[in-house]
């Protein structure tokens, strides 16, 4: 009895590997530390009332940002472990099995639990303020989206202490990931964690589409929208078209694993390639989901710090829309080597190259915006500048990979690994960091100090090229992705070692960002202007951070760069509220139900992961009850009285 219990626990909790035990200890200590701090400072109530139950887009943005940075840390540690293992031949830091788990969690976390919350942090922080709205279209749903992301990510992350991590790669191809070849719960964690957060993502897509289409301030026609908002619109369209496909792919694989179906098995007529097909119908557009918001950020940052109108606004809009349609038609280039035949490969080769055209248009527009502009090299602008060469290389190597015959050489080598890291770090991470620095004052009310930020920029950028340039060559020398080690006679040692040095430089860059945030918190200088950069769009007409209701009076818009034009004409005060115009404002009430719904989803996910169908079903019943509770809620809104708004505005010095 005692033995079998220890045995069960031994399977349930991951033990044995010293790295994991160290992480276990660290997790327990950090959790205890958080609990202790919250209790000591009597902050539990504050946490619940101000954060866990909030439906305010500005607070949800902050929660997304914190999650994204934490996940960047975890994904980064995974990356450094892999690079350490590969620094020299025949190293034994990680076993093959452990290495498999780490490249799986690294990829999954970076794409779905780092990039996605990072872009949603930007959506939430910026879009309502940019279009003159008081919140998103469906604030309650927005809270649900966040908690589904959060609990999906939590479910995925606990895998490495309870039950074991997934190890089938972030693409999770069957038949390898079928029960027959991959028993245990790791893969189930992957499938359910991603499914739960995927539902949240679809809800976010719906929400921001409705917000942008239906909630713009009067006068803001579609062609007067800021480009970041346009980029979000394009992103949401792609989300709606492709995230359901991922949900289905994951669900079908889960049905195979839990209920013995034969969608992707090797026997009884299953077709594993259909999973690959579905996965990339989502997977390729996912790249655009991540990069379009970054493009939007570059458009805002480049215009602001060049003090010029964006060059070619209409072609920018056309490019975004073209990418959001053509981007959905290129997915087969991820499996040219499947051998679907010349007609299929040719079609998708051409569509892939076609999508480079609108992207190229955008790059030239940014360059032309900077041309003869008065450029200030602030941190957001530095990251935007660094993006252009990085993305040019990524784009060029991408076109090589898009040619089906040559792709047979590059496929699944380090050449491809280097390409997509250059695209996703150079495109998405640089963009998100530019956006974070740019809108940080608007989100938190103070600027990040430049000192450590410059260090971070140079460490990260130099490390970036030192890390990935050798990988192109390694790929051409035949080094395959996902190898856990290699022998010295392959002659890959020197390049691998250099690459590892680059990875560590990027790690130092990340630490500099952390130091910068802490340093700026300690020596905080509040932004009292609301417009620290000389901004162009509506969010900079508000105080930093914006009051709960954003706009005391919804402004009337007449220009694309409304705030800039007002400043140019000396009419800034026209965007301040007049006391007689202030009325009561309807706002949604806070609610604990979205959090509770996330918990129910977590219970359901955990139950299904372990094949405990009753627990899973109970969780889903809980979800339905949460939905019914919302439907029956007769008073989801409340009024903020006009007097209170006048007092708030007066205290902000705006009346």
């Amino acid at each position: 009895m005692g033995d079998s219990l220890t045995n069960t626990a031994g399977h349930f909790f991951v033990t044995g590997d010293p790295l994991i035990i160290a992480s276990d200890v660290a997790i327990v200590l950090v959790s205890l530390g958080i609990v202790f701090t919250l209790t000591y400072f009597k902050k539990w109530k504050w946490l619940w009332r101000e954060w866990l139950t909030t439906v305010d887009h500005k607070k949800i943005a902050i929660m997304y940002l914190i999650s994204a940075i934490l996940m960047l840390f975890r994904g980064g540690v995974d990356a450094l472990l892999m690079r350490t293992q590969l620094a020299l031949p025949n190293l034994g830091l990680l076993s093959a099995e452990h290495y498999d788990q780490i490249f799986t969690t690294h990829g999954t976390i970076m794409i779905l639990f780092m990039a996605m919350p990072f872009i949603f942090a930007m959506f939430n922080a910026v879009v309502p303020l940019q279009i003159g709205a008081r919140d998103v279209a469906f604030p309650y749903l927005n809270a649900i989206s966040f908690w589904l992301f959060f609990f999906g990510a939590l479910l995925f992350n606990i895998s490495f202490v309870i039950g074991g991590s997934p190890d089938g790669g972030w693409t999770s191809y069957p038949p390898l990931t079928e029960l027959q070849f991959d028993p245990g719960v790791g893969e189930n964690y992957y499938l359910l964690g991603l499914s739960i957060s995927g539902i949240g993502t679809i809800a976010t897509g719906i929400n921001f589409l409705a917000t942008i289409i239906k909630m713009r301030a009067p006068g803001m026609t579609l062609m007067k929208m800021p480009l970041f908002t346009w980029a979000v619109l394009g992103t949401c369209i792609i989300i709606l078209f492709v995230f359901p496909v991922l949900s289905v792919a994951l669900a079908l694989l889960l049905i195979d694993r839990l209920f013995g179906a034969h969608f992707f098995t090797m026997m009884y007529g299953g077709n594993p390639m259909q999973f690959v097909n579905l996965f990339w119908i989502w997977g390729h557009p996912e790249v655009y989901i991540a990069v379009l918001p970054a493009f939007g950020i570059y458009s805002e940052v480049v215009a602001t710090f060049s003090q010029k109108k964006i060059f070619g606004y209409k072609s920018m809009v056309a490019s975004i829309m073209a990418i959001s349609i053509i981007g959905n038609l290129t997915w087969v280039h991820h499996f040219f080597t499947m051998g679907a035949g010349p007609a299929v490969n040719t079609f998708f080769s051409i569509s892939t190259m076609a999508v480079a055209i609108p992207t190229g248009v955008k790059v030239f527009n940014w360059l032309m915006t900077m041309y003869r502009g008065r450029i200030t090299l602030s941190l957001p602008m530095l990251w935007a500048l660094a993006f252009i060469p990085a993305f040019a290389v990524a784009g060029a190597t991408g076109v090589w990979l898009a040619e089906a015959p040559t792709d047979y050489q590059y496929h699944n080598t380090y050449f491809m690994v280097a390409h997509f890291h250059q695209a996703l770090i150079g495109g998405v991470v640089f963009g998100m960091l530019a956006g974070m620095y740019y809108w940080w004052p608007k989100m938190f009310g103070f600027k990040l100090k430049e000192k450590f930020g410059k260090w971070a920029f140079w460490f990260f950028n130099i490390g970036f090229y030192v890390c990935f340039t050798p990988q192109y060559i390694l790929g051409l020398m035949g080094m395959q992705r996902r190898m856990y080690t290699y022998t010295a006679d392959m002659h890959w040692t020197a390049l691998n070692f250099v690459s590892t040095i680059g990875a560590y430089l990027m790690g130092i860059g990340f630490l500099c960002i952390a130091a910068q945030i802490i340093h700026s918190l300690v020596h905080m200088e509040k932004d009292l202007t609301g417009d620290p950069w000389g901004g162009r769009t509506l969010e900079w007409s508000l105080p930093s951070p914006a009051p709960h209701y954003n706009f005391a009076v919804i402004p009337q818009i007449s220009d694309r760069d409304e705030w800039w034009e007002r400043k140019r004409r000396g009419e800034q005060d026209a965007l301040k509220p007049r006391p007689e115009d202030i009325r009561d404002i309807h706002m949604p009430k806070n609610s604990g139900v979205p959090f509770l719904m996330g918990v129910c989803f977590f219970i359901a996910g955990f139950g299904f992961t372990f094949g405990w169908i009753a627990v899973g079903a109970a969780g889903l019943v809980g979800v339905l009850l949460c939905l019914a509770h919302r439907s029956l809620d007769q008073h989801p809104d409340h009024d903020i009285p006009a007097d209170e708004i006048r007092r708030t505005e007066a205290a902000l010095g705006r009346l």
Partner: protein, 110 residues
């Protein structure tokens, strides 16, 4: 945000007293269904034209649902939701047809 108001009981001028368009939609949907059904059971056409025929009937049937029951023509402009719904239908066809195309090399028959 939501305002609870008394129902607007007044009928718009010229409002029909009988839901003719719904009845017409229902009749059409039944006719289209039975037509497809009989075409298949009676082998009215060779396989390929038959397949094309029943798919066409399905498309008409979908249009009936959209126009007669989901009021797609009557919503206030701008009708962005219809644009997006149409593009979604386009991608429905693209994903289904291209999946068949991409994966035909792998049928057990071959």
């Amino acid at each position: 945000m939501s305002m609870v108001r008394p129902p607007a009981l007044e009928r718009a001028p010229g409002q029909a007293r009988f839901p003719w368009s719904h009845v017409a939609g229902y009749a059409l949907s039944i006719v289209l269904t039975l037509a497809a059904f009989w075409a298949v059971l009676g082998h009215a056409l060779p396989t390929k034209p038959l397949l094309a025929g029943i798919l066409l009937l399905a498309v008409l049937q979908i249009l009936v649902q959209l126009v007669f029951f989901m009021h797609v023509g009557q919503d206030s402009k701008p009708r962005y939701h219809l644009w997006l719904f149409s593009v979604a239908m386009f991608f429905f066809v693209v994903f289904v047809v291209s999946s068949m195309w991409i994966l035909t090399f792998n049928t057990p028959i071959s």
